[in-house]
Amino acid sequence: MLVLTRKKDEKIIIGQDIEITVVGIDNGSVQLGISAPKEIEILRKELLEDVKKENRAAAENKELLNKLQQIKFNAE
């Protein structure tokens, strides 16, 4: 892993067209500005990991499936 030190308002370029700016530093939090082509998806990693974890948990549903038969939603 490459580790760089940057000050506020300094930038990093990744490849041709991804630019990351340190917008602010405050009390242990770093605010980043990211310019990237719109086909590049930018996500907070913990959110992606949480979705993966939940998808895996949901995929283990099979043995509980028949419980669903009991469920009825309220009629509108």
Binding site: K38, L47, V51, N55, A58, L68, F73
Partner: protein, 152 residues
């Protein structure tokens, strides 16, 4: 043309193609939708290639009102979305031992373009939409009489 699928016979034109799979299941690229039961709001999203992989899903209108989000231009392009009417939105359900603990993933809806048979799971970075939204909490609050049905 049909493909043998255990007990289920499926037609090729029922298969939905997920170019990127799902987060955590990146190699699962083909799914079909199966009704769960006649009077159930739940829909099974079954992997075509892996009989053991299936997700239980539900249309969000069954769970909450005011579920609105934007699909990025790039996702619209990926899923070849031309009209909002071609889209089916599903949220994956996670079952728990206790029925009242069942949750829906509102943060990562499945978007399906029924016309083009393309699907994908998008991740919404919106703090209002939980990855684990308890689907019975609101109904119980609105209709306490129903609580008995889901209690042990």
């Amino acid at each position: 043309m049909t493909r043998d699928f255990g007990k289920i016979e499926i037609k090729e034109d029922q298969i939905l193609y997920f170019k990127n799979g799902l987060p955590g299941f990146e190699t699962a690229k083909e799914f079909i939708l199966l009704p769960f039961a006649d009077d159930s709001p739940f829909i099974i999203m079954q992997s075509v290639n892996n009989p053991d992989l299936a997700f239980i899903t539900v249309e969000p209108g069954n769970l909450i009102t005011d579920y609105e989000f934007e699909i990025s231009d790039q996702k619209e392009k990926d899923l070849e979305i031309k009209s909002i009417e071609d889209i089916l939105v599903l949220n994956i359900i996670t079952l728990k031992d206790q029925l009242e603990e069942i949750t829906a993933n509102l943060s990562a809806p499945i978007i399906i373009n029924l016309k083009e048979k393309l699907g994908g799971q998008i991740i919404l970075d919106n703090h209002n939409f939980s990855v684990r939204f308890p689907i019975f909490a609101e109904q119980q609050a609105e209709n306490p009489a129903q609580k008995d049905e889901v209690s042990e």
